[in-house]
């Protein structure tokens, strides 16, 4: 192995109370394609953001060419020769290709007036080597997504980067686009440029990488040479110790008419998804980022248009028009992002908890304050909210307590079917166990629960059966009692198909 170009050791970072990285490490050799894999939330993105200067670590050391360096900003990373291509391309669609390449680029001569000829001349060689077929004068927004990705690569090259981080670069690309990108990656490798390739698509990783580093729960589990390992070994490292079987006392009531039956559901992001949820059942929904888990909730709740397929609630076919309509049908949706889609951050805990059913506590439009207070404190107690001031803005609560407020809000609507979209994201351990207990008791009461989670042990712990999605398609429904994390992960990564 050649000498290490980059060596990061003992990197730790926490956001609020959440530890994103604990003593993580990564080393990359010159001219190497180094894949970093891990489940959602394993710390891949945080680690790359620290090395590329977007986030500052709490502790740890970074060595570049053997020298200890501190990377305080993206600019200082750029000076060293490190750049990053983000998942959501960090480019400006309303600027031209050339403008996108030179903006904030330290290798471009600074002047007050733009000489467009000179800018074009600067960009052209890099665009050629990245195989961008469009003129530097073209608006970036007019390019197909694959070409935009290559512009980002050309930009990284023009900055004189010796190490490029790519975060899920193929997620937005078609097969052809991905093939072109892989070809370019091989070419750069020959020129001695190193690539850190963050992905969870096994097939790709094994196709292009030299080594693979696996992360889990903010820690580096290990690094393997690609030729000497297997997808099975990598998956086992990603999920940790083999955990199998649900320890849940099932409360499923098998009835001829399930509470919810979905057949051939197809939307812009889902293809032909079918499943049933019975009273007292917790159906897990597993899948990687972009598999269509949240989109399933959006389709059921009347937020996304359904192209084809049928939804039956208590045996009757329904066409959900809006969230309001969904609520009258007895559906509830706890959205994935509680800040953006769930809570009114400036409003109080109590006001948030009763918002969905406020009209029930009113006479001629006036809120019956006493009743609102009583019902709110009852429900917040039932979700074990630890907060002594229902009048405080919900933004002052911890993530776990915020999630409990949101859960309480949906429980007040008395839904029969509750879609919980990753309820334990950014939630502390204590609150997590409370939420598990609540899910158990809701199922015991005879509700049907759909539980989305990116953590497999959680799904195995809480669910009766687990629906596994991959790129909008159902890869199968497994029994939580008999399945393993490995089985779910291979369905989710579609490795079993190969």
């Amino acid at each position: 192995m050649k000498a290490d170009l980059l060596r990061a050791e003992g990197i730790s970072k926490h956001f609020g109370g959440v530890k994103a990285l604990r003593d993580a490490s990564l080393s990359v050799a010159t001219g190497e394609v180094h894949a970093v894999v891990g489940e959602n939330g394993a710390g891949k993105s945080t680690l790359s953001k620290i090395i590329t200067g977007a986030v500052v670590a709490d502790s740890g050391n970074i060595f570049w060419d053997g020298q200890s360096v501190s990377i305080a900003s993206p600019m200082s990373a750029q000076r060293l020769g490190i750049s990053m291509i983000f998942q959501e391309l960090d480019l400006f669609p309303n600027l031209t290709v050339a403008e996108n390449m030179v903006i904030g680029n330290l290798n471009v001569e600074r002047s007050s007036w733009v000489d467009f000829e000179k800018v074009d001349d600067f960009c052209r060689p890099f665009l050629e080597s990245a195989k961008v077929r469009h003129s530097p004068r073209e608006l970036l927004g007019n390019l197909p997504i694959g070409q935009r990705q290559l512009v980002a690569v050309a930009r990284a090259l023009s900055m004189g980067s010796r190490l490029i981080f790519m975060d899920e670069p193929s997620s937005a690309l078609s097969e052809d686009g991905a093939a072109i990108l892989f070809e370019r990656i091989q070419e750069f490798k020959r020129r001695g440029v190193s690539i850190v390739y963050i992905s969870h698509k096994m097939q790709e990783i094994f196709r292009i990488s030299d080594r693979i580093t696996v992360m889990r729960d903010g820690q580096t589990v290990g690094t393997r040479t690609t030729g000497e390992t297997t997808a099975e070994e990598i998956i086992a490292m990603m999920v940790g110790r083999t955990l199998s079987g649900s320890n849940r006392n099932s409360s499923v009531k098998q009835e001829p008419r399930p509470l919810l039956r979905v057949s051939g559901l197809t939307t812009a992001r889902l293809r032909d998804v079918s499943f049933e949820v019975h009273r007292g059942e917790v159906l897990g929904v597993a899948g990687l980022l972009g598999a269509g888990k949240s989109e399933l909730g959006a389709a059921l709740f009347g937020l996304d248009r359904i192209h084809s397929g049928q939804v039956y609630i208590r045996g009757e076919q329904v066409q959900v028009r809006s969230p309001r309509h969904a609520m009258t049908l007895g559906l509830g949706l706890l959205p994935e992002d509680r800040r953006l889609e769930g809570l009114m951050m400036q409003m109080s805990v109590r006001e948030n908890s009763t918002l969905a059913v406020l009209a029930r506590f009113s006479t001629a439009g006036f809120i019956r304050t006493r009743e609102e207070q009583t019902r709110s404190s009852q429900i917040l107690e039932s979700v074990k909210l630890k907060s002594n001031s229902p009048g405080a803005p919900v933004s002052t609560l911890s993530g776990g307590n915020q999630q409990k407020v949101l859960l309480g809000k949906w429980l007040l609507t008395e839904p029969d079917i509750l879609f919980l979209d990753d309820p334990n994201r950014g939630v502390d351990v204590g609150a997590k166990w409370d939420i598990y207990a609540i899910v158990d008791s809701l199922a015991a009461e005879g509700k049907g629960i759909l539980l989305v989670s990116s953590e497999l042990p959680e799904l195995l712990r809480c669910c009766d059966r687990i629906l596994v999605l991959h790129e909008g398609r159902s890869m199968g429904i497994v029994d939580a009692l008999t399945t393993t994390q490995e089985e779910i992960m291979s369905l989710a990564t579609a490795t079993a198909v190969n």
């Binding site: 609020g16 109370g17 709740f301 937020l303 809006s322 969230p323 309001r324 969904a326 609520m327 949706l333 959205p335 953006l340 889609e341 769930g342 809570l343 009114m344 951050m345 400036q346 409003m347 006001e351 918002l355 969905a356 406020l358 009209a359 009113s362 439009g365 006036f366 809120i367 304050t369 002594n388 001031s389 405080a392 803005p393 933004s395 002052t396 609560l397 911890s398 993530g399 776990g400 307590n401 915020q402 809000k409 502390d428």
Partner: protein
């Protein structure tokens, strides 16, 4: 971003009260300054504190104050309504036309009430159009109401042939209306009653809660199944309606229907709302704040006029007050979250 620590310290009640009272403290400061700076009458009385002067202030702020009440609702939903000044002009035009050029056989009171009803109805309809376009077509409120501001001004001028419609001092219906509507008691009572109604609406009703909710987080409002579009349509309708009411009072006070009235009133109303602590990004604000904001600007104007300060200098000082008031609130907000 608030740092979310499990043990987030809850502010003490005293601090919270001080936070709430900050704009009131600002008002108190301005009032004290006005008392200190006020000239005195020959017999030694403080001019600012004379009952006549104080009620003058209330009368002067009422026209803008009424608009600012509804503007608070609009701004709470993270919107803006630039059309209220033009709508006020339309209201005065409709009111004066109905009073002078229309003679229904319904008696004097009936005639006056019908005229007022017509003016309010037309203005409410303008507001409804604003609200419908904003919520259904999804165009930014700034642009929609900018268009209405231009179009409605045109409508008022076209209706009146771009001439004032004067109301005399005789005993005809129009003159009787004007004599009644220009009474301090009428103007101040109208503002006071509307302020109470809007305060009740915002703090005690489901509608008021929804208004704050969708301004705080519209996306979450949709996910919660709130009637987001309808609420938006309603707040703009209310805003048009209150601009209409203001216009009716304006007609009486000035003894004329004036298609060129109310230029820049939208900005005065917005200023009163933001000085009162309502955030332009929505979700945070109150009617009591808006009333205090209106009073701060009104007392400031009165204080400067009593000192015979040049009205152009007055504008410059007003500008400074607006920025300082909002800057103070921002620092408080940062500490809060």
């Amino acid at each position: 971003m608030p740092a979310i620590a499990p043990a987030s310290p809850v502010r003490s009640p005293v601090k919270r009260l001080a936070g709430k009272l900050q704009s009131v403290i600002g008002l108190a400061g301005i009032v004290i300054l006005a008392i200190l700076l006020s000239p005195t009458t020959p017999d030694g009385a403080n001019v600012f504190l004379q009952l006549g002067n104080l009620t003058d202030i209330l009368r002067q702020i009422s026209v803008i104050g009424i608009i600012a009440l509804a503007m608070t609702f609009v701004i709470l939903t993270a919107g803006i309504d630039l059309s209220v000044g033009s709508t006020l002009a339309l209201s005065t035009s409709v009111m004066a036309l109905c009073l002078t050029a229309w003679h229904p056989a319904v008696g004097m009171v009936g005639h006056i009430l019908l005229s007022a009803f017509a003016a309010a109805l037309v203005c409410g309809a303008i507001g409804l159009v604003n609200g419908a376009v904003i919520s259904v077509a999804g165009i930014q409120p700034f642009i929609v109401t900018l268009a209405t501001m231009i179009g409605v001004r045109g409508l008022a001028k076209w209706m009146t042939g771009n001439a004032n419609i004067d109301i005399g001092f005789g005993t005809d219906d129009a003159a009787v209306f004007a004599a009644f509507a220009r009474e301090k008691a009428t103007v101040i009572a109208t503002f006071a009653i509307l302020a109470c109604l809007f305060w009740l609406c915002l703090s005690k009703t489901v509608f008021g809660r929804y208004v704050r909710a969708i301004g705080d987080n519209e996306q979450a409002g949709l996910y919660t199944g709130l009637p987001v579009r309808r609420i938006k349509a309603y707040v703009y309708t209310l805003c048009g309606l209150l601009a209409g009411v203001s216009g009716i009072l304006y007609t009486g006070e000035n003894h004329q229907g004036n298609p060129n009235a109310g230029v820049g009133y939208e900005l005065d109303a917005i200023a009163a709302v933001v000085v009162g602590g309502t955030s332009l990004s929505g979700g945070k604000g109150s009617i009591s704040g808006t009333i205090v904001g209106t009073l701060i600007l009104g007392v400031l104007t009165n204080m400067l006029r009593l000192k015979n300060v040049d009205s152009n200098v007055e504008m410059m000082l007003k500008a400074a007050i607006i920025v300082i008031a909002v800057a103070l609130q921002r620092t408080r907000w940062r500490r809060d979250t």
